[in-house]
């Protein structure tokens, strides 16, 4: 039997398995269940979560087994250098695709701010339509009065920097500090692995997870205030739409990143990761840095400018 790790002239091909096809089925159940629920509630009927939850359960369980198996194979020395390089390419380009996903929403923000709202306000050759349909509409950002305020009740207040005072006004700033700090703490955790210092790893990685959770709590608080006190909702026109889709999907990615780091923390407690074999940790940390960079973009373009 050839040893895949030491003999680089031999390839390692993993064996057949039921995970992928069951995962695909689970995802299908989850999404169609969710779609049915959405349609039911949008039509004012009671929807059911059962199918979505079952689908999610299947997805989660399969992912657990799948990752567990990959980790186990690696520990048996089956994963050679080449496969590890493939993993690096894989996560790298996956993150690139995530960047493009956010690019779509940033693109929507810029288009709406710079082009759509100006046209609605009467600017340029296309502005005439706006003038005829909604003569009172004024092109300002954040849009505090929509073309049709009956359909889309505008927010009373926006999240843009000058509009807010008090601790809430600084919340995005705190969150920036928190995330940037967490990027640093996860980096320290990485060097801890390289030094072989397990206690340091557990501490700093745990700290990173904690910071992620604090970020999420603060963001939840921000959303609650937005909905309850500021009248800023998904339905308050283009400002609310872009605000929530950008911060919301970012928050969703922070959640994913936190879960990943949490798993890595648990793995660290179990004694996984060595100085030259810690791909899982590194992947999660790269993902975390990506989530961070997106936040900086959000902070600048959604809150400050």
């Amino acid at each position: 039997m050839a040893n895949a790790e030491t003999d680089s002239s031999v390839y390692y091909v993993p064996h057949n398995g039921w995970y992928p096809v069951v995962l695909a089925a689970g995802v299908m159940l989850m999404l169609t269940g969710f779609a049915s629920w959405l349609n039911a509630t949008s039509n004012g009927e009671p929807g059911s979560w059962t199918q979505t939850v079952i689908g999610f359960g299947i997805t989660a369980v399969v992912l657990y087994f799948w990752f567990a198996k990959v980790i186990a194979e690696n520990q048996q020395g089956l994963a050679n250098e080449q496969l590890k390089k493939s993993y690096v390419w894989g996560i790298g380009w996956f993150i690139f695709s995530e960047v493009m996903f956010f690019a779509a929403f940033f693109g929507a923000l810029f288009y709406a701010r710079v082009i759509a709202v100006s046209w609605l306000g009467g600017e340029g050759a296309k502005g005439l339509t706006g003038e005829y349909l909604w003569p009172e509409f004024e092109a300002v950002w954040p849009v505090m009065s929509n073309p049709n305020n009956a359909l889309f009740p505008p927010p009373e207040q926006s999240m843009a920097a000058p509009a807010l005072t008090g601790w809430l006004g600084y919340l995005p700033f705190y969150n920036t500090v928190i995330l940037l700090t967490s990027s640093w703490t996860v980096h320290v955790a990485h060097s801890a692995i390289k030094e072989g210092n397990r206690k340091k790893l557990n501490t700093w990685l745990g700290l990173t997870v904690l910071l992620g959770i604090i970020f999420l709590i603060l963001q939840a608080e921000e959303y609650i205030v937005a909905y309850n006190d500021m009248g800023l909702t998904l339905g308050s026109g283009i400002y609310g739409s872009t605000f929530f889709i950008l911060t919301g999907f970012h928050g969703f990615h922070v959640t994913l990143g936190t879960v990943m780091l949490l798993v890595m923390w648990l793995r660290g407690l179990k004694g996984h990761f060595t100085a030259n074999d810690c791909f899982g940790f590194e992947a999660a940390s790269w993902y975390w840095h990506f989530v961070d960079v997106v936040w900086v973009g959000l902070f600048i373009f959604v809150y400050v400018l």
Binding site: V13, N16, L31, A103, I245
Partner: protein
């Protein structure tokens, strides 16, 4: 359950690094496989099935358009047929077929045993049947399936959409996930698993075109996911991205969609360029002319494809500067495209050519794709696009690049590599029959559409003015010829697999490349040890 246990048991039973085990038995082989050839086969058969389903939808459309007036289907159903035809052909037939070809060919052509991430490879495939199951089931839902055209412009796809649009959105998400994982796999395989000595500029053209296509997919599939997500929010969560009443803009939908959509059309043609760049040299018995310039041309086309999207929107409303920019940028694409057509022609020049079925399809590709390129250039001229836009001229344009373009190249590839895949030769006479029927059918179908389009016949309408009757009747006849000739294809393949004569390792005299150094059929794991890349096998 027993199969599952069996699979796991099997796992523990042999832990060879090289995995020299053969395929599993029965259904389990296909459901659980991590083998690039099995997965390639799955992709190809799936895509063929989609081709037939999408084809039936097209024939329903052509039946209705055989004569002016409404006779066979009602307009609502007509709209669902055009929409689903487009979606199924683009996402279900053409794209998966190319991924199937990549699965079969890339590992063999770069000298690898398999794809870089074999389990994820299985997942990429198995998502698709579920996604298209959802898509097709929408047709049977209350309110009918998607009816807003394959471009699903808001607000047709939001405010005025049937309920089933929610399912459509999630189906698109699943297809996107499949494409992204597929691309990551292809990139990792190409960048990481090449045999020693195969430098980037020695890679076969098909590998090059797929590498670049994979980057296009990674860049734009997430944008598609983003735009359908915004639709979902507009529909169910009261946002106003595409609703001017809330400060949004339906035109914004089109910008984001076409930022995905134009690169998407190149996703469907770049691998075709690769295929043709293998077949023409093989049957001209000459190396590919201008290999380096072919690589640079593909790269520049890919780059340009990101900055031309608004040529789909000239009539929608855009400042003059925008119109000019997108017009000139679009025309620029004709330059690298011209380089490719020139190189293909030069490859055949003074070659000792023979005209087996794959070659016939490849030559037809060059000629007919170029016609599509020319009509594209006409459409790129902003002032005249005001007349052509949303007419049958556009339909003729994109069908010329997609049917005798992308689809012919896929068919050519299947004939060309068939002996390598199956170890058998197909029946040449039947293959040629398939070619001539397809060639004639495709031209009868789509050539007249140039004329009806120029004369002003709008697309996506179930009825039309009397003066277009003759051209439409011709189109419909051609469509039936083309459609039914694909059954000949099916026959040739099945007959070849079952009764074909055994094929040699190098099944075609002029074929070059690592895959031809393997026996036919190729072993289950292509190269268990990295092969030597010899110069005479370079540049197929």
């Amino acid at each position: 359950m027993s199969e599952v246990i069996h699979a796991d048991h099997h796992d523990d039973a042999d832990h060879h690094g090289s995995g020299d085990h053969g395929p599993e038995k029965g259904l389990a082989r296909w459901l659980f496989t991590t083998n690039h050839k099995d997965i390639g086969t799955l992709y190809l058969w799936f895509s063929f099935l989609m081709l037939l389903i999408g084809g039936v939808m097209a024939l329903i459309v052509r039946t209705e358009l055989f004569q002016p007036g409404l006779q066979f289907v009602n307009p609502e159903f007509f709209n669902q047929m055009t929409t689903n035809h487009g979606l199924i052909m683009v996402f279900g037939a053409i794209m998966p077929a190319f991924v199937g070809l990549a699965n079969w060919l890339v590992p063999m052509q770069v000298g690898a045993p398999d794809m870089a991430l074999p389990r994820m490879n299985n997942l990429s495939f198995w998502i698709l049947p579920f996604a298209f199951g959802i898509m097709i089931s929408t047709l049977f839902m209350e309110g009918g399936g998607p009816n807003f055209g394959w471009t699903f412009y808001a607000p047709l796809s939001t405010t005025y959409a049937p309920d089933s649009v929610t399912f459509f959105i999630f189906a698109v998400h699943m297809m996107g996930a499949s494409s992204i994982m597929g691309s990551i796999n292809i990139i990792a395989t190409i960048l990481n698993m090449r045999a020693p000595g195969m430098t980037l500029m020695k890679m076969p053209m098909f590998v090059w075109t797929w590498l670049i296509t994979a980057y296009l997919l990674l860049a734009v599939m997430p944008v598609l996911a983003g735009v359908v997500t915004m639709m979902l929010f507009d529909i169910h969560f009261n946002t106003s991205f595409f609703d001017a009443a809330g400060g949004g803009d339906p035109v914004m939908f089109q910008h984001i969609f076409w930022f995905f959509g134009h690169p998407e059309v190149y996703i469907m043609i770049l691998p075709a360029f690769g295929v043709v760049s293998h077949i023409l040299p093989a049957f001209s018995r000459k190396p590919l002319f201008g290999y380096d310039s072919m690589v640079y041309a593909v790269a520049s086309i890919a780059f340009l494809s990101f900055i031309v999207w608004a040529h789909h929107m000239f009539t929608v409303g855009m400042p003059l500067a925008g119109q000019l920019f997108f017009m000139y940028a679009t025309m620029l694409i004709a330059i690298p495209t011209g380089v490719k057509v020139f190189n293909w022609t030069a490859t055949m020049w003074k070659g000792s050519m023979t005209f087996e079925t794959p070659m016939l399809f490849a030559i037809a590709f060059v000629v007919l794709f170029t016609i599509g390129g020319f009509s594209g250039l006409m459409l790129a001229i902003a002032p005249v696009d005001y007349q052509y836009h949303d007419t049958y001229f556009v339909v003729a344009h994109f069908h010329y690049v997609l049917v005798p373009g992308a689809l012919f190249s896929i068919i050519a590839a299947v004939y060309f590599w068939f002996p390598k895949w199956t170890g058998k030769m197909y029946n040449e006479t039947m293959g040629k029959l398939h070619f001539w029927l397809s060639f004639i059918g495709v031209n009868i179908t789509f050539f007249p559409q140039h004329f009806s389009g120029l004369a002003g016949m709008p697309r996506r309408i179930p009825d039309y003015a009397l003066q277009f009757a003759d051209f439409n009747m011709l189109s419909s006849v051609g469509a039936f010829i083309f459609g039914f000739s694909q059954l000949v294809f099916l026959y040739v393949i099945i007959h070849g697999i079952r009764n074909g004569k055994p094929a040699e390792g190098r099944s075609w005299e002029g074929a070059r490349g690592l895959e031809w150094t393997l026996p036919s059929p190729a072993p289950y794991h292509s190269f268990t040890k990295p092969p030597q890349v010899r110069d005479e096998e370079v540049h197929g």
